[in-house]
Symmetry: C2
Subunit: 439 residues, 2 copies
C-alpha cells in the first residue's frame, strides 16, 4: 500500500489525444475504413520505426520542422522521433531499392510527433494516413488521376458525399509567373495566394505589393486566380490566356490528362474541381497538387492533401524517384468531426451481446457464451454479483445492443431469452435462432 | 540535385524491426487476428500516448526497466516513451475511474520502447498485445478462467493447435513456502524455480543452497515442483500434501475453480495444464499466473504470459483495482516464427488482380478496374510502358494471384481475359463472371 501523499497524479500530457473506449471504437472504425480503402487500390503496408537516427531523419529538415522535433540521445546515439511518414518512406525506398518492385505503391498509417505549442485541435502526437506511388525514373500521369479516385472512394466509405477534391498543377503556376518575369518571387507569391481563403483578395493584393510587383502584374495574377467554372471551362480559359511558356503549356496538358482520367476512374464531376489558387505550402511539389474540402464543414480546411514531386529521396540516393501521394491528418480530423457532432448517431460497441445468468448454475450460460463466440459474435459473459438493474446499466453504458438472460427455465428447455436493448423487445428462442439474429 | 558526397546513408537503427511489404502483410494479418480474437471476448480498445510525463510513467519503475527507458526533455518537460502497456493502463484507469464501467475489459496493441542492448530477436521498439480485466474493489475468479479461453481462441485463430497454456497460482507457492518457514526467501526461491527449464534440477538445488535453505526443505521444494500429471491429478496430489496453511488452501481452491471454468469455457484438456514451476518474474502477480508454450517450437519460450494482480494502480489512487491479464510480445513472436519458416506457405498479397491493358485505348480497362474495386476486390491497374513480361513479373513479385488482360477483342466483345497466375489457366469471360471468381 502506497501512502496517499506519495501518490502520483495520473495525467496525460497536453497535446496528446487519449480517447475513452466508446470514442476509440469510432476512431478505430475510421482508421480501418481508410486502411481498407487504400488496400482496395493495391497499396502495400509499411510500418517504419518511430525512432530513427537524427542524421537520417533530419537530412532534409530545417526551420520550423527541426525546432518541433523530439530529439534526444540514448547512449552514443543521436535519435529523433519521426515527424512525418514521408522522410521514413524516402529512407526505406533508398535503402531497399533492389528488393522493391516499381511503381511502388505503399500506405502507412501511424503516429508522428511534433512538439508544437499545443492549442485546440493541434496535437503533438498524431496519426497520419499516407499513400504514395513511387516510380523508378519515371511515373505515368495516370497515377496523378488515380489519387483523386482513391480520395473519392475513401471519403465515400467514411460516409461523406458532399465534398470536392481540388486539383491544380504547379507547372501552370510556375509557368504563369515565369511569363510575368516573376520567377524569382514564385515561392512568395504562392505563399500569399495560398492565404486567399483566409485573408481575402484585398489583403492578397497588398501583400503582393510588398514584393515590388507592379500593378499590371498584380491585376493579371488576380484575374488568373479568379478563373473559375467547370473543369472544362477552366482549361479552356487557361488556353485562351495564350501564354507562351513551355512549363505553362506542359501544366495545362497534364491537368487536361488528369481530368480526363479522373472521369474514366468514375469520380463524379461535382466531386473534383480545378482550383488555380491551390499551391500547397511545401516546396517539393512539382506537378499536380490536391486539397479536399468537405462542403458541409469548410471550417475544417483541407482533410486530404498532397501532390506530385520529382524526387522522393534525393538526400539519400542518386536514383531519381518521382512520386505522387496524399495524406490524411487523422487525429485532427477525428477531433474536429467529433466536436462537430459527426459521430453522435454512429454505432459504438464491441460486444454485440451480454450474457446474464439468472441461475446459480452458470455452466449452461458459459456454454452459450462460448458457442456465440465460435459463431463469430462478440460476446461478454457477466460474472458480477451486481443487481440485475446494474447489469443492464453496464450493457447500456457500453452500447451493447442485446442481452441474453439464462435462468432455470432456459436451462430446462435448452433455449435462451434475448432482449433487444433499444426496442425493449424480449423473446425466448433456440440458440440457433438467436445466432441468426445476432449475425 | 544533392551532391553525391553530401548524401546521407539511409539506414534503420539496430534493434528496430522494419519489414518489407510481403512480410509486413503477414505481420498485419497476425495483428488483426489477435485484435479480432480479443474483440470476440468483448474487450474495448485503448490507444494511450507513446510519450508520457516521466513522473507518471516511472511512478513504479526501478532497476533494469528504468535504465532501459527512453527519457528526455523537451522544453521544460521531462518525458519518457512508454516501456509497456500496463503502466499507461493503470494511469488511464485511475484518471478516468468515473467514466469507466467495471469490470473494465480493455485491449491495447501498440509499440513500446526499451533501450536494451540489441541482440538477435530482441527489439528496442516492439509491439505488445495486451488484454486486462480490471475490477473495482473485487474481481470474480471466473475472469481468471476466461483468460485461458481467450488465449486458446487467439492461438487457434493464429493457426496453432499444438500448444499448452500453463497455469499456476502464486498463493499455492507462497503458502507452501510459508509452511516451510521460508516466507522471507520466497522471491529468491521463485526466481530460482523459474530457471528450472534453463538450468536443470541440480543447479536449482545448488542455487537454493546458497540461500541457506536446509536439505530437508530443498527436497520438499524439489518434490513439490516435481508434481506433474493431469490437472485433476495435480490438484489431488496438492491436497494430499496436507499442508496446513490458509494461503495454500486458498490457492488450491482458486485453481480448482479456474480449472472447472476453463473446461466449461470449452478449452480442451490437452491445451491447458497446471504447472507448479510457473512463477512469472514480475513481483506484482498475486494469484493465477499463465504461460503459453507452442509444443512444436518450445525454444521460443512463452508466447503469451500474465496473471492476476491485487492492485493495478496503487501508485496513482487509493481505489483498489484488482485485475487479470496477459500479453503477447508480437514483434519478437513474429520474428521467431518468420525465422523458423512458419510463414513460408502463407499467402501474402494485397491486390487480388492486376489489370493490364493491351490496347492504346485504356478507357475500358480503367472502367473494369473501377468496377472491380466497387465490388470489394483489391485491384491494381498497370500504367507502365514496360514489356508484358515485366508486367507479369511485377504481379509475380507481389504474389498477385490473378491478371486481367484487356485488348481490342475484349473491348469489342465487352468481356475480359483472366489468367490464374499459379495454374497459368487463362479464360475469356464476362466481367460479372470474373467478379464471381475474384470474390
Amino acid at each position: 500500500m502506497i501512502d496517499s501523499e506519495k501518490k502520483i497524479n495520473p495525467r496525460t500530457l497536453p497535446g496528446f489525444m487519449e480517447l475513452l473506449p466508446n470514442e476509440q471504437i469510432k476512431f478505430n472504425k475510421m482508421k480501418k475504413t481508410i486502411e481498407n480503402s487504400y488496400e482496395k487500390f493495391g497499396f502495400l503496408p509499411l510500418n517504419t520505426p518511430i525512432i530513427e537516427a537524427s542524421e537520417v531523419l533530419l537530412a532534409k529538415a530545417g526551420g520550423e520542422t527541426e525546432k518541433q522535433i523530439y530529439r534526444f540521445t540514448k547512449g552514443d546515439n543521436d535519435l529523433s522521433l519521426r515527424f512525418d511518414l514521408t522522410v521514413p518512406l524516402a529512407k526505406f525506398v533508398a535503402q531497399n531499392m533492389n528488393s522493391l518492385t516499381f511503381p511502388f505503391r505503399r500506405y502507412q498509417i501511424g503516429k508522428v510527433f511534433r512538439g508544437e505549442r499545443p492549442q485546440q485541435g493541434r496535437f503533438r502526437e498524431f496519426y497520419q494516413a499516407d499513400i504514395d506511388i513511387i516510380g523508378d525514373g519515371s511515373l505515368n500521369v495516370i497515377n496523378d488521376a488515380e489519387i483523386p479516385s482513391i480520395i473519392y472512394s475513401t471519403f465515400k466509405n467514411l460516409g461523406f458525399d458532399n465534398f470536392v477534391i481540388k486539383i491544380n498543377n504547379r507547372k501552370i503556376l510556375s509557368g504563369f509567373f515565369e511569363n510575368l518575369n516573376l520567377s524569382n518571387k514564385v515561392t512568395d507569391i504562392l505563399r500569399i495566394i495560398d492565404k486567399l481563403d483566409k485573408i481575402g483578395i484585398d489583403l492578397v493584393k497588398e501583400e503582393l505589393r510588398k514584393y515590388e510587383i507592379d500593378e499590371e502584374s498584380i491585376n493579371k495574377i488576380i484575374s488568373f486566380i479568379n478563373i473559375v467554372g467547370t473543369n472544362d471551362d477552366i482549361i479552356n480559359k487557361l488556353k485562351l490566356l495564350d501564354i507562351n511558356n513551355s512549363k505553362f503549356e506542359e501544366g495545362i496538358k497534364e491537368i487536361e490528362d488528369v481530368v480526363k482520367y479522373i472521369r474514366i476512374f468514375g469520380v463524379p464531376e461535382n466531386n473534383f474541381n480545378i482550383d488555380l489558387t491551390i499551391a500547397r505550402g511545401l516546396d517539393y511539389y512539382t506537378g499536380t497538387v490536391y486539397e479536399t474540402i468537405l462542403n458541409d464543414y469548410p471550417q475544417i480546411g483541407s482533410v486530404c492533401s498532397g501532390g506530385r514531386y520529382d524526387d522522393l529521396a534525393e538526400y539519400y540516393t542518386d536514383r531519381k524517384l518521382p512520386g505522387v501521394g496524399v495524406s490524411i491528418g487523422l487525429t485532427r480530423f477525428f477531433y474536429q468531426l467529433n466536436k462537430i457532432g459527426f459521430f453522435e448517431d454512429k454505432e459504438s460497441y464491441i460486444s454485440k451481446v451480454l450474457v446474464i445468468s439468472m441461475s446459480e448454475d452458470i455452466g449452461y450460460a458459459l456454454n452459450v457464451t462460448t458457442k456465440l463466440r465460435l459463431n463469430g459474435i462478440n460476446t461478454e459473459f457477466d460474472n458480477t454479483d451486481k443487481k440485475l438493474k446494474n447489469k443492464l446499466n453496464y450493457a447500456n453504458k457500453l452500447n451493447i445492443p442485446y442481452v441474453i438472460f439464462i435462468g432455470e427455465d432456459e436451462i430446462l428447455n435448452n433455449n435462451v431469452t434475448i432482449k433487444n436493448m433499444e426496442s425493449g423487445e424480449q423473446k425466448t428462442l433456440s440458440l440457433d435462432e438467436v445466432i441468426e439474429i445476432l449475425k
